[in-house]
Amino acid sequence: MTTTPEAVRQSRTGTMDPVSWRVRVVHTTGYRYEAPVVQSYNEARLTPRSDRRQNLVVARLETTPATRSYRYTDYWGTEVTSFDLHAPHTELKIVASSVVETTEHVQPIDDASWADLRGDGIADRYGELLEPTRYAPRNKELISIARKLRTGRRPMEAVLAVSEWVHDQLTYHQGTTGVHSSAIDAWQAREGVCQDYAHLTLAMLRSIGIPARYVSGYLHTKPDGAIGETVRGESHAWIEAWTGGWWGFDPTNDIEIGQRHVWVAIGRDYGDVSPLKGTYSGGAASAIEVSVDMTRLA
């Protein structure tokens, strides 16, 4: 880290809510290749952004072998770091580290009725967040379940009901689904990881006309995290829904978005925000290391 927590604290004294957290995230990804790799082109979406709920203090991204990186902001507002490697290499390590200040729980927003959502204005403004996608496709059975859950509820309540339903239906289990699994795959298996929980929730919310988007980020695993303690965090995903305003919810854990959540990117589904993607020529890759270390600094 180039900026010490103390320096950060001094510069920000008194500006943050007392219940806010300052969290350091160190996300390490390592690949090993069976045969030397050349012409490796990559894009990383690993840099947290700032908004009303979250303040990015500092971020950096390092690769081994070292690369000259290029940064840009994509259509969705995500900070992208692109880099390419040409010298033959058999290992690639990417370390994205950042310090982020997060605030207390996001309260659900209850400012839109079903009639508001059905109006032309919303359907037009959020059209791309209402359409089915590859990861969150349309499914008749899911639509009818979502419609039942909608009955007698306001849109905001329906978001919570659908999230809860998804949380109850799926069992968190790694290995059943992969990075390319869709919401339907996970639902049929009744198992999945955060990515699948989010996609399933998105597919159902969109099917009943609630604009919804995929959020990728990190989760600090201890609700009462002690300052200075480094915990094994998670590369995480949750959803945001529009019911008069955008607000997030975490269907995997059936919890509100709070200090423990650090967001990095939003999009229609995983495809818009994949943390690392690229092409290369050479031997098959195996991920040898994926870790997210999170430390509450304040």
């Binding site: 082109y41 259509y75 359907a123 037009d124 059209g127 791309e128």
Partner: protein, 527 residues
């Protein structure tokens, strides 16, 4: 003598009132069988000919075509793209109108694309619905924020025009991605000049051979201003592509490298060409590869035709991709229906060239109209080209109409409908006689950032089967040489004039990048 009748001549029974689509506008003969002014000289030259002369000429033409090796892929099979004997003639006055209309469209669509891949002001101002853009399959979010150095995204465009029953030219669709066919314009002219030198001697036909000069100028002007002598390449998918002939012809005429994806590579957002003398930086890529295959990092990861990293290289300003990535949002057949609004918004002008009336199936009332009148309309998929997927209501069975209604209902954004335009007809050799056959016109425009050049002429495609209104070359159509006549007062060199006869390609001053003028070299004065 100026009549479309007479005994034993080529035009025997030409305007048969019983012919299909008899209401169509014939470009040579008015309804009363008098010859229109544009075709008077051509008619005078042709009418004394006997059918046997026609056969001789046709043989010469076929031989010339085979010699030049002009073919087109029809459903995957290579075959000669038939060139008809009789040219299509456009007067200077008609052309001036078309030219102004095409230039206006290109300017308007350039502004539109710059806005859509930038701030999207036209959406914020409520002029276009946001969903029109976000639901377009060719709106490539990967291209958001990429701004080319001289602002040009539509380096080459092809505007498909048809002439309705009143003879009015209307735009059928815009092609802003990789419009092909310009090689046929040049080759058709070359062939015709070989076979009919006598006709050219009697007409002041504007030359089309300098297209590559204009294209090269526009591509060089597109390079970043710091590049003194930009390197331009033509990127082709390879010899198996149906337009490979055109790619190689353009590269040869421009004197630039014809490359495939594997000849290029990207390092730290700079594109290099592998040559026998080592790496050479590339500044402008005139690519004839679809967006989806251009960059496996951003689009189809399995594509081996493109260049990994090329889009971020363009974003970084180190290379210019021509035409720009994502132009398809500008030639979407639904966006097309909003062109009057687009021209009004950016240029504050009304369209000089009208569209064909179009019903938008994604609007409830217009969709209902389409359902009620499906048997009178031509229903077209918004996606797709080459005439595939089009349903001609008048020819469709009740079962087909029911099927198309179902498909439209399932995906209203994916369909538009138009009244059946009886495309204009031009005399075309059929057997030993000349018969009216339906045509369209695709002129080509090149934008160098300062002005838009429209190649005088364009590709006239002919629907060869009697009564057919499908002119697409991928549906087995033919083509015609398109003659734009020079104005009487003009000083432009007509085709085959004097000294140019026999010289293969006209000489042009070597292109140079922008150079600093003495005024620019001065230090800026302190204020």
């Amino acid at each position: 003598m100026n009549r479309a009748s007479g005994n034993g001549d080529l035009f025997d029974n030409y305007l048969d009132p019983k012919r299909p689509h008899a209401g169509a506008f014939d470009e040579m003969f008015a309804a009363d069988s008098t010859v229109r002014s544009a075709y008077r000289r051509l008619y005078d030259s042709l009418s004394p000919s006997k059918p046997a002369d026609l056969a001789t000429r046709a043989e010469a033409l076929d031989r010339a075509l085979v010699d030049q090796g002009i073919t087109f892929s029809l459903s995957g099979q290579e075959r000669p793209f038939p060139l008809d004997l009789i040219p299509r003639v456009i007067t200077a006055g008609e052309w001036a109108k078309l030219e102004r209309g095409i230039v206006q469209r290109v300017r308007g669509l350039e502004a539109f694309l710059a806005d859509i891949y930038g701030d999207q002001q036209i959406i914020r101002d409520g002029v276009l619905p946001r969903r029109l853009i976000t639901s377009c399959a060719h709106f490539h979010r990967q291209a958001a924020g990429v701004s080319p150095p001289n602002g040009v995204r539509i380096h080459v465009s092809g505007v498909d025009l048809v002439r309705d029953e009143d003879g009015t030219f209307r735009v059928l669709e815009d092609n802003l991605r990789s419009p092909s066919g310009v090689s046929y314009v040049m080759e058709n002219r070359r062939t015709m000049a070989r076979v009919f030198p006598d006709l050219f001697a009697k007409h002041r036909v504007r030359a089309v051979g300098d297209y590559a000069v204009h294209l090269l100028r526009a591509l060089r002007a597109a390079a970043a201003p710091n590049v003194a002598d930009p390197t331009v390449v033509v990127l082709t998918p390879g010899v198996h592509n149906s337009a490979y002939f055109e790619h190689s012809l353009l590269a040869r005429l421009m004197g630039v490298e014809l490359v495939e994806g594997r000849d290029l590579f990207c390092r730290d957002n700079v594109i290099y060409l592998r040559t026998t003398e080592g790496e050479r930086q590339v500044d402008v890529i005139y690519r004839r590869i679809d967006d989806e295959y251009l960059d496996p990092v951003q689009f189809r990861p399995d594509s081996v035709l493109g260049v990994a990293g090329v889009i971020n290289a363009a974003r970084a300003g180190n290379v210019v991709i021509a035409n720009a990535v994502g132009n398809g949002v500008g030639d979407d057949k639904l966006v097309y229906t909003y062109l009057p609004e687009i021209l009004k918004y950016y240029l504050d002008e009304a369209p000089l060239l009208p569209n064909v009336d179009t019903y938008r199936c994604w609007l409830r009332e217009e969709r209902q109209y389409v359902f009620d009148h499906a048997d009178e309309l031509v229903i077209k998929p918004v996606e797709g080209s080459g005439g595939y997927g089009i349903v001609f209501g008048p020819d469709a069975s009740a079962k087909e109409l029911a099927a198309i209604r179902r498909r439209v209902r399932a995906n209203p954004r994916g369909w538009i409908a138009q009244p059946l335009v009886q495309l204009s007809t031009v005399p075309t050799k059929v057997g030993q006689r000349l018969k009216p056959r339906h045509v369209d016109l695709r002129p080509f425009a090149v934008n160098d950032g300062k002005s838009v050049f429209v190649l005088p002429g364009g590709l006239t495609r002919v629907a060869v089967p009697e009564g057919s209104l499908v002119v697409n070359s991928s549906q087995g159509g033919g083509s015609k040489d398109t003659w734009v006549l020079a104005a009487r007062s003009s000083t432009v060199d007509p085709e085959l004039s004097g000294q140019r006869l026999g010289t293969p390609q006209e000489e042009s001053a070597p292109e140079r990048g922008p150079e600093l003028t003495s005024a620019q070299q001065q230090q800026q004065q302190q204020q």
